[in-house]
């Protein structure tokens, strides 16, 4: 049986008055690449530190393969951490850094040498044993940090924004490498990040956190296509969120009113009635000539055209006053839409997703009128 299953049961951590982690329930399967995703201050790093043992939970249980380890000190847990700052010991060379854990475990000298050599080769740093951490580049330091944790063959590897300090290109390369190492070693990875693209690329499953709560746990595809809360819809990718009033008889379809326009919404929480939000991804919005007629169409005007290389981002101000983004692939057809053109925005019912009303408003996203940054759209459009 594979080891490395982590169950967080009603896990809670208070720092004085502040609740960092508020009774979360997460079941991480053995051998899974699991990401904790959220903005800073959402409790993801505290959750990781609780699993590592650097913090003591205020309540709840942390089960590793079914055994509660809340009372086990960090140096006795079969869990290792890759720190955001790497925390390589500057006074030791690469070899001694990697051998540190094995020596603490009193592994025989010969075996230590073999295992360190093997893991250094696995991260392509075979010739760097004698170097000091200060003599390595950021990416190399990152690999040493990884090797230092992997050499102990932990059941679970915790990674706290390990690629945060690297430049974009290196980050992409290391994302792929991390994923392949995870598959090769078959270790459970718990990966903390605020970078949604990173989480979508690498993870088997993602937990989106906000304000100490778990918003949704799902695979990357499900998370992107079927966000369950306003927060998730807004945090992952570019979303067009619209405040609506859901109406109509109880049934399959749900009619939502955006200002004076009535649209049919085909997916999501179709049972919801009253004030709520709908979301539609920019790539699902179809821009048509102003003369086009039919259901689920709202007239508007092209406010801005942002050229993204492979695609074009259109910012449309609808007649309701709401701003909607649309993404059109540049497939060679001449550009139809210029700034100031009157158009119809077709919002297909099957792409219009009804979200449950947000309970408090603390998790309310940025107002839909606020157009997200253009570069954010590039990342999502390309992925």
């Amino acid at each position: 049986m594979k080891t490395g299953a982590v169950d967080l049961v009603q896990l809670r951590k208070d720092f004085g008055e502040v609740t960092a982690v508020d009774g979360i329930e997460i079941a991480i399967e053995a051998g899974e690449f699991f990401s904790l995703l959220g903005p800073s201050g959402c409790g993801k790093t505290t959750t990781l530190r609780l699993i590592a043992g650097f913090e003591r939970p205020t309540g709840g249980k942390i089960l590793l393969d079914g055994v509660d380890m809340a009372a086990t000190p960090p140096h006795r847990r079969k869990v290792n951490t890759v720190f955001q700052s790497y925390a390589l010991f500057p006074h030791l060379d690469v070899f001694d850094n990697v051998a540190f854990g094995l020596r603490r475990a009193h592994v025989k000298k010969k075996e230590t040498r073999e295992r360190v050599t093997r893991v250094l080769e696995a991260v392509q740093l075979g010739d760097y044993g004698k170097r000091k951490p200060a003599q390595l580049s950021g990416g190399q330091q990152q690999r040493v940090a990884l090797a230092r944790a992997l050499v102990l063959e932990p059941a679970v590897l915790l990674l706290d924004e390990p690629l945060g300090a690297l430049d974009a290109k290196l980050r992409k390369a290391l994302q792929i490498e991390l994923k392949s190492i995870q598959e090769r070693f078959g270790i459970t990875f718990v990966y903390v990040t605020h970078d949604q693209e990173e989480a979508l690329t690498m993870s088997d499953r993602i937990a989106v956190m906000s304000g100490g709560h778990v918003e949704q746990i799902a695979t990357p595809q499900t998370m992107y296509d079927e966000p369950e809360t306003v927060f998730v819809a807004d945090f992952l990718g570019v979303s067009n969120l619209m405040q609506v009033t859901a109406e109509g008889p109880e049934g399959v379809a749900c009619r939502v009113k955006v200002g004076a326009f009535e649209l049919a919404a085909g997916c999501g929480e179709l049972g919801v009635r009253g004030e709520t939000h709908v979301v539609i991804r920019p790539e699902r919005v179809v821009i048509e000539p102003y003369e086009a007629a039919g259901a689920n169409r709202v007239p508007g005007m092209v406010e801005r055209v942002v050229y993204n290389g492979a695609s074009e981002q259109l910012v449309i101000r609808l007649a309701t006053g709401t701003v909607v983004q649309a993404l059109s692939v540049r497939d060679g057809t001449p550009e139809k839409w210029t700034q100031g053109t009157a158009v119809q925005a077709y919002l297909p019912a099957e792409a219009l997703r009804v979200l449950p009303p947000s309970p408090t408003g603390s998790a309310a996203p940025a107002t839909p009128e606020e157009a997200p940054e253009a570069d954010e759209a590039i990342e999502v459009g390309a992925g």
Binding site: A87, H91, R104
Partner: protein, 291 residues
């Protein structure tokens, strides 16, 4: 004239005025020391009229040279002895206190942090008088070497705490956490990771404490018992108005050399230690932060 002025005020050249000013100050501050050292080699009793070169005040004279005069030698030995004990006692206690103050989060943490600065801002004479009173009436510490050490340790600790704490704050808790994560116990993490990282700061503290102790006059004077517990500063102070010989200059020179060689040693050790330290920290920097 104009050309000279232009050359001097050249905006692309070296800031010559600042350079000249710096050198002027260097000369101003170093000349007295050099003159004092030079006159320790005077072949006569005068400390102001040059009468030829000789080493009689260092070791030549069988009665009045530094090497043979028991009073001079005693003072030198007492100075070094106090400095030694001060370093041995104040530094470990200071390191412990600094560790406690940075890692301990609780009530009383802040006031203690402020109180740590107290000995630095209290006028030394006030501190000396207070120590005299409590040692005499409250703790009944006999005056002499013990009282001198206690007095010096009392104010040295503050300096150590400030140096070590600064370093601890810049190191941060990650290295210790990493060590614990990799299977080291709390004590192991301290010994294998924190202590090596603190080494430059500990070394800097040793140097600072040495310099403080060698230099101290007020507290040491108040705590001294008799001629046997005189240190060099006390001796110089007492004989300066009497019949001083160039031997006194020689003693003072020994002090200068001792201090200089400590700084040189500090520099060498720093260079050696800096090989494996993260950039941006230096023992000299740690010292410079305080003195």
């Amino acid at each position: 004239m104009r050309r000279v002025r232009d050359w001097f005020a050249n905006p692309w050249g070296q800031p010559r005025f600042l350079g000249a000013f710096t050198w002027l100050y260097m000369i101003w501050s170093i000349v007295p020391v050099i003159i004092a050292i030079v006159f320790s080699f005077n072949n006569g009793r005068s400390r102001s009229v040059w009468q030829g070169f000789s080493t009689r005040w260092w070791w030549g004279d069988p009665y009045n040279s530094v090497l043979h005069d028991p009073v001079l030698r005693g003072a030198l030995e007492q100075s070094l002895r106090l400095a030694g004990f001060d370093m041995l006692i104040a530094v470990p206690i200071g390191v412990g206190l600094a560790l406690g103050l940075t890692r301990w989060r609780g009530y009383g943490n802040r006031p203690v942090n402020y109180l740590m600065l107290f000995p630095l801002v209290t006028p030394e004479i006030v501190m000396a008088v207070s120590l005299l009173l409590v040692f005499d009436h409250l703790y009944h510490v006999p005056f002499g070497t013990e009282a001198q050490i206690l007095g010096q340790v009392t104010f040295s600790i503050s300096y150590v705490v400030i140096i070590i704490r600064g370093r601890l704050l810049s190191i941060g808790p990650e290295y210790e956490e990493a060590a614990r994560d990799l299977g080291a116990s709390q004590l192991g993490a301290f010994r294998l990771v924190l202590l090596p990282l603190l080494a430059p700061a500990i070394f800097a503290s040793l140097i600072v404490v040495f310099a403080l102790s060698i230099d101290d006059f007020v507290v040491t004077q108040y705590m001294s018992a008799n001629q046997q517990t005189q240190t060099v500063p006390i001796l110089i102070y007492q004989t300066v108005r009497g019949t001083a010989t160039p031997a006194l200059n020689a003693v003072a020179s020994v002090m200068v050399f001792a201090t200089l060689s400590t700084v040189a040693l500090a520099y060498l050790v720093y260079r050696w230690a800096a090989r494996s330290q993260p950039a941006g920290h230096s023992a000299l920097g740690d010292i410079a932060g305080v003195t």
